[in-house]
Structures are given as structure tokens and as C-alpha cells.
Amino acid sequence: MEPLQIYERLKGRFGERILETAEKKPDPFAVVDPAALLEICRYLREEPELAMDCLSNETGVDYKDRVEVVYHLFSYSHRHGAVLKVRLPREAPRVATVESIWKSANWMEREIFDLVGVNFEGHSDLRRILMPEDWPGHPLRKDFVEPQEYHGISTVRESPIVRLDQLKDQHKKK
Amino acid sequence: MQNWIDSLIAAGEFGKNPPRDLVYAAFIFVLSAVVFLGVAFPFAGIVSWVERRVWARIQSRVGPNRVGPNGSLQWLADGAKHVLKEDVIPDEADAHLFKLAPYVVVLGFVLPWAVMPFSSALILADLNVGILYFTAVTALTVVGVLMAGWASDNKWSLIGGIRSAAQIISYEIPAGMSIFPVVLIAGTLSMQGIIRAQGWAPYRWFLFSNPFCFVAAIVLYVSALAEGNRTPFDLPEAESELVAGFATEYSGMRYLLFFFAEWGNMFIAGALITTLYLGGWRAPRVSASPVVMNLLELFIFNVKVLFLVFTSMWVRGTLPRVRIDQMMSLCWKFFVPIAFIDMIGTAIWVAIWPEGNPVAGYVMFALGVAIAVLFIQRVMYYLRRSRMEMYLHPTI
């Protein structure tokens, strides 16, 4: 089944809770209501004609005014895929976890929590995964500012060219 | 030996009426120092160099070749470096046990040299319970390893130590059982006695004296690999699992002692099998001079032992490591019953042919040669297939 057909089907079933089905090139996607996400996902997985048995990718994108979580679903039995999105407020984004539907969501959601700062409600083990536990902020947010030092290790390096110029100046003075 | 010292004393070499015990003690010290520093350590070191070279060749590498001719002084460099390294004792470690452990391991490696039958005359002490002494003192290693694992206060060390203890103690049983057939045939526990009961010709070795002995020799060889923590039974120091096993926390000189004991143990295991099954130093009588004969015997003994050491290197270069439960089941489900059968079988054999059966010797020898030929043919087949010219022209 083509993605657009799948979105039509979802619209037929869930109506207004599918907020937008954009036919944007190259990959079309459907934006869904965060409150209905679990229900829609469960339907996608359990409906025999859709049978999305694999959550192949889940990622978060920070669009300055909102945060989106993108779900790339795939069905190994029907060889088709779909893209779902939920739009969340940028301050304290929260959405239900899909870990109960696809196990692979566990780690991907931890990564999104770590890097984009989306809070997944009901997640079994929501910890930082890539960054150290005591890291400030969420690096993939657009307004993330790199800390100047971490445990006494400075994160900026003096440019060798600047240093070379300084040495030249010293040499001239002599 | 004692007679010779007595004669020296009688000749007045140490002044008039020297205290006999002191002279004996001095000789013991000097001799053990000579054996320790002059034979055991260099030998362990050289074996370590040979192993690295052989291993490298198996892996199509070169191996250490910059220190001395062909890298033959590599072991000296390693040793000297370790002596100069900082000696770290972790804060949390049990310092006394931690310091003691390497010496216990080395003790288990040095004591067997006392009964090592290099030739008909070159043996420090031909004990009448030689083989018993041999198995008893080599088992000291396990105490040291367990101490090291426990005292390091590192969980990887602990697992390594416990694994080693379980492994060495388990394999003591088939190894001990595999010694019995020889004792039954030879009727003695003395190392020299066992060697004298065999002939110089291969078909007079205990290896080929009957089928049970043949199997027992293989069981003994594999058990010796396991007791020496060699691949495929190198679980106590499994690098990919346990970092460096029981020796993880050791550095400098203390680690060096473990290091040398490991390689020295290869020689000891080889010497045991050579003595028991491969005819020891027995050589054809080519000269009446005892000096020539002893040198020849020394040479033959060392060649046999080194061949066994080489095989264990070869095995190390070829086989992966078994898992601990597989190792245990191999020991208890296969080796222990087989060793028992061997023992009983040999007993029956000896009861039927108390003087041995020469025909069995020839037949078994022919069988052994056939197996060796088949094996070599297979190796040659793979050598031809692997198309070595590609490696000679790396850019194709």
C-alpha cells in the first residue's frame, strides 16, 4: 500500500485526530494528535492490512517554534511504510511512549530524550543514553549553547594560527 | 651428587673438618640458584620468545626480530623492563597475599626442576616417588593463582582465579589417572626408573606399548594444556573476557613472575609427557664415553620436550577457547571415565603380558605413523590451496 493510501485510511478511521496529511515531496507524512498517538499506532500495528510490525526509526526534530517527533513505520509482511509525526510545544514537550507497541522504541526514545529533550510518558527507563548523566541541556535543540568546560576540561581549543601570530609578535619585539 | 661433595670434603677443599651440613646447604643454595637463574628462567624466557615467533609465523606475521639476532634477546628486554617498572599494589588489595602470590606460583614452577631427568646423570634428585612429587608441587601453582585472584580485589581477577582453581583441580584427576598406566607397566614411581623401563626406539616407548597408553597419553597432553592455562583452556586469563584474568592488577616484577611461570610450565608439562610416554632421554648407545652419551641424551630429551612445547604453541595458534561449562563437561564426562578405562585396561594388559607385548608396540607405532602421514597430507593440501603467491606480492 502506498503511504498516501495509508493516510487516507487513517483519516477514515480517526477523522480529525489526523491533523494533517501533507503530500510534500519527496516523503509524504501524516501529523497526528499526540493524545491519540498510542491508539493510532496500535491500530497501525494490529490492523492485518497494515501490519506495521517494525518501528524502523524514531527521531526528534527541533523547529524553533515546536518540537516534532517523527515515526518511520515499516511492515515486513506487506513491504510498505508510513511516516507519522507529532507536534509538541517546545517548552516541556511530552508524549506517550510507544515502547509497549514496538520494543525498539525504548532506545530511540531515550536518545530523543537525551538529545532533543522530549519527555516520554510511561517509558520504562528514561535516562540519558549518549551524553553523560550530568550534562546540561539537550544538544540537538537549536538554541543549545556548548558549555565552556566539563569537569575541568575546557572544550575550546586555541587556534594555532592565533598562537603563531602571537609568537611572531614576540619575535618582532625582540 | 652427595658422593661428589663428600669426596671434595675428604680432599680438603673446604679446609679441615668443615661443618658438613653447612657445606651441603651451601651447595644446595648454589645449585638451586644456578638452576633457577641459569636454566629455568632463561628457558622460560626463550620459550616466550620462541612462542611469539612461532605464533607470529602462524598468523603470517614476523614477530619480534629487532632485539639481538632475530629478536632472540627479546625476553631479556621484557624481563629488564619489568624489573624497572613501578610496582603497583592497589589500595584495596590484601597487600600480603598480593605480594606472596607470585612467589607461590613461581615455587610451583621451580620445584619440579629438582626431579627433571635431563639425562641418565643430569638429575638433581632421583626421588623414588619422583612422579608423585612432580604432580604434587606443580599443583602449588593453583594456590598462587587463587591467592592472586582473591588478593587483587578486582572482580575480573577473582573470576579468573576461581576459574583457574576449578580448572586445574578438575584436570588434576584425569592427568593423575593418566600417569597410572605408566606406573603400572614400569612398576616404579621414579622418573629415571620409568625412563629406563622404555627403549630408545619409538616402538619401545610407553606411548605405543598398548592402545590404552596411547589414549592416556593424549588425555595427559590435553590435561597438561588445561593445567598450564593454555589455549584452548586459557579461561583464567581469557583476554577478551576477563581482561588479563588473575593477573589483571599485577604490574612490574610481580607480573613478570607470572609471565615466566606460564611459559616455564609449558616446558614442565612437556618434560612430564616425554618422561612418561616418549622414552625420556633414552638414546641408542653410540659411544662408550659417559660424557658423549649424556650430551646426546640431553639433546634427545630437549628435542622431545621442545617438540611438545611447539605443538602446544601450534594448538594455541589454531584453536579458539572453550567455555567454562564445556571445559568442565569435557573433563568430568569424558576425560575422567576415559582415564579410568585406560587405567583398568592397562592393568588387565599387564596381567596378561607382564613383560609387555612387542607386537603391539610395532602395530601401534605403525598406526601412529599412519595418523601423522594423513595429518601432514591434509596440511599440505591446505597450504597448496591457500595460494601463497598472493602474499608475496601484496599489491597483486
Binding site: 514496538w102 525498539s104 540537538l140 | 581482561v243 595458534g317 577457547r321 572453550v322 591457500s386
Partner: protein
């Protein structure tokens, strides 16, 4: 150990820390192991020791400039990450790659797959204690490295592909060398099997260790050889063909459980061996059929793809690699995300580790073929 038996001996659970510096973790992974003697209750992976923020860097360096960074996403098979990024950009900007360029890509990636799988099977040898197979694999890898070096000038981080094709054409005489190498490889694989794969100890160590069922594998999003080992016949090259793969004739091997259960470590290991001979097949066809023509399409220097987003899937050596790229119409991508096989494979370790022995954990890691940079990026 077992819950049913009456506890006669008081045992204590032991917490072990494995890594980040540990010889068998293939880079910098860390496991916190709760073990009862040799048997693990659970091994909790701790990753992120190689998180190099490649996804954030993509937002700073632009489309062409990001190509060298993709090498570092998975340095063992960098050609695939190159290809994934190039394909994603081409899909966004609607660029057609010349046919010879596609062939060059296939040749480069398949050679890289050989190199990567050789390393994987070699590391498996090292992890279960046999150094020789590992070094023999490195020996073969060196020759592939020579070939690839002649092709693109680098041994490891290739930076060979460009958006719209590849950077350089095949050098003169390279085809013959490559074909000669393939002739050499097939008997080597047999030798390798004789030395290591069919070794009794190797089979005992690998067979029946940590089997994964097909449903579980899909649920945990395992991809590539790990998924095929569970019996799922799924290869992106066949099922969602990209590049010129439909023109080649090759098989997709799946796990059959010849030595134990379907989807055990032995199956995962053998999958790599089988795939090497399949790659060799593809390479032979590609090298003989390669058409003439340009290798690189004309692409503007300051590439500004129209706003939009896409996901591209590439069958890398570690499985289906998904490149998700969001463009906002400027010269810099808004967001880049790589879905990698190792990340998913790492997620399943915690579940599989329950009840395994510590020695089996090493086998499990090696058989899943996880590579630290692919997990952490």
C-alpha cells in the same frame, strides 16, 4: 542458579563493570553486568562514549561538506554511509547519478562490505580466543585496503562519493587487479571456514547461543545480517532496490539453523561468510559489465535542495541504514538523523543477556557486529 531448586548454598549477586576499555567491546562500549558466578542475570549496556555529535555537525557544514563526516559514522564500512548521505541529498535535490557512477558506487560499497565482514568474522575469532583467524582476516583486509586506496586514496575514511556520483573513476588497470583479488578470495573463504568456522570448538561456542526469533528481531528493529540470520529474507538491495542492484544476480542468504537453532550466534556469524561470497558474485558482474561514461553529475557547489524531508535506506554491512534528512531550503540541512543497525542491535543485548554466561556475552556482542561509532554517532 535455578529458581526451582532448593537453595542450599547462599550466593551473592556480583556487579561487574565491563568497559569502556575492555578488549572485547570493539571500541568503547560499557556493560554493567549483574552476575551470579559465571551466569549473568543481566547485562545493561551503557553507550555514548563515542558520541561525536555528527548529527549536529551536519547542521553547521552544509551538504557537500558533510560527506567526510559520514565516513566517521561507521568507519568500518564508510562507503555505505557515504552512499546513504549522497542518496538522501540526491533524493531531496532530485539529482540523477550517471550509470557509470552508480556502478562505481556498487563496486566500492561491495568491496567495503567484504572488508567489513572480514573484520567482523575476524573479531569473532579474537573474541573467542583464536587470534589467528583475526590476523588472517586482517591480511585479506589489507589487500582490499590496497585496492580501495588506489580507488580513492584512503584506507579507512574514504570520502569517495559525492552528491551526484563518485569522486574519481576507476584507475587504469584496476579492474583486472580487482578481478584477480576475487579469484583469490573464494578459496580463502573456504580455508577460513576450514580453519575457524567449522572448527568443533567454534561451533560449540557459537551454536545455540542467544537465539533471536524472527518476530522478536523485527520488534527490536534488527536489520541486515542479524535479521536475515533469524530467517527473515529481507535485503534492501533486493526488496527496495536502489542504485543498479536490480541488474545483478545474487542470493539473499538466510539463517537456517544448521548448527543449532535458527537465529543463534552461529547463524549470525555464518551470515557474514555467506554474504562475502554473494558480494564477490556481485562484484564480478559489476566489474565485467561496467559501462562507459561520466561518473559524476553536474551538481552546483552550493547545493540548496528544496524544503522537504526524506528517508533513504541503504543496505550497509551492518544492515539497513536509514538516513533521515530535513531540508529547509537553505544551504545547510535542518536536521540529519542516521538510523543504524548497531544502535538497534545494542538495544536487544540487555534482553538477550539474561541467563547467558559471561563468555557468551562476548560472543553475543561479536555476533551482532556492533560498532561503537554507529551506536553513538
Amino acid at each position: 542458579m535455578s529458581d526451582t531448586a532448593e537453595p542450599t548454598l547462599r550466593t551473592e549477586e556480583m556487579t561487574l563493570n565491563m568497559g569502556p576499555q575492555h578488549p572485547s567491546t570493539h571500541g568503547v562500549l560499557r556493560f554493567v553486568i549483574r552476575a551470579d558466578g559465571e551466569v549473568m542475570r543481566e547485562a545493561v549496556p551503557d553507550v555514548g562514549y563515542l558520541h561525536r555529535s555528527i548529527e549536529k555537525i551536519a547542521e553547521k557544514v552544509g551538504y557537500h561538506g558533510f560527506m567526510p563526516y559520514t565516513d566517521r559514522v561507521d568507519y568500518v564500512c564508510a562507503m555505505f554511509t557515504n552512499q546513504g548521505w549522497a542518496m538522501a541529498c540526491e533524493k531531496l535535490a532530485n539529482i540523477e547519478v550517471p550509470r557509470r557512477g552508480e556502478y562505481c558506487r556498487v563496486i566500492a560499497t561491495e568491496f567495503n562490505r567484504l572488508a567489513s565482514h572480514l573484520l567482523t568474522v575476524g573479531l569473532m575469532g579474537m573474541d573467542i580466543g583464536a587470534m589467528t583467524p583475526f590476523l588472517h582476516a586482517l591480511r585479506e583486509r589489507e589487500m582490499i585496503n590496497d585496492l580501495i586506496e588506489e580507488l580513492c586514496g584512503a584506507r579507512l575514511t574514504f570520502n569517495y562519493m559525492r552528491i551526484g556520483g563518485v569522486a574519481w573513476d576507476l584507475p587504469p588497470g584496476w579492474r583486472e587487479k580487482a578481478l584477480a583479488y576475487l579469484d583469490h578470495l573464494d578459496p580463502i573463504l573456504e580455508e577460513y571456514n576450514a580453519l575457524f568456522s567449522y572448527n568443533k570448538i567454534c561451533i560449540q561456542r557459537l551454536a545455540n547461543v542467544a537465539p533471536i526469533s524472527a518476530a522478536e528481531a523485527i520488534d527490536y528493529n534488527l536489520v541486515g545480517p542479524n535479521l536475515r540470520a533469524c530467517g527473515v529474507k529481507w535485503d534492501v538491495r533486493k526488496e527496495m532496490p536502489y542504485s543498479v542492484y536490480p541488474e545483478f544476480d545474487f542470493d539473499v542468504p538466510t539463517g537456517r539453523g544448521e548448527w543449532g537453532t535458527i537465529g543463534d550466534s552461529m547463524d549470525r556469524y555464518m551470515m557474514r561468510i555467506y554474504e562475502m561470497s554473494e558480494s564477490s558474485k556481485i562484484l564480478r558482474q559489476a566489474l565485467t559489465r561496467i559501462p562507459d561514461g561520466p561518473v559524476l553529475a553536474k551538481v552546483v557547489r552550493n547545493l540548496r535542495p528544496p524544503a522537504g524531508e526524506c528517508q533513504v535506506r541503504v543496505e550497509s554491512a551492518r544492515g539497513d541504514q536509514g538516513w533521515y534528512v530535513v531540508s529547509d531550503g537553505t544551504g545547510y540541512p535542518w536536521r540529519v538523523h542516521v538510523r543504524t543497525g548497531s544502535f538497534a542491535a545494542m538495544g536487544i543485548i540487555q534482553k538477550l543477556s539474561r541467563g547467558l554466561m559471561i563468555a557468551d556475552l562476548v560472543v553475543l556482542i561479536a555476533s551482532l557486529d556492533v560498532i561503537a561509532p554507529e551506536i553513538d554517532r
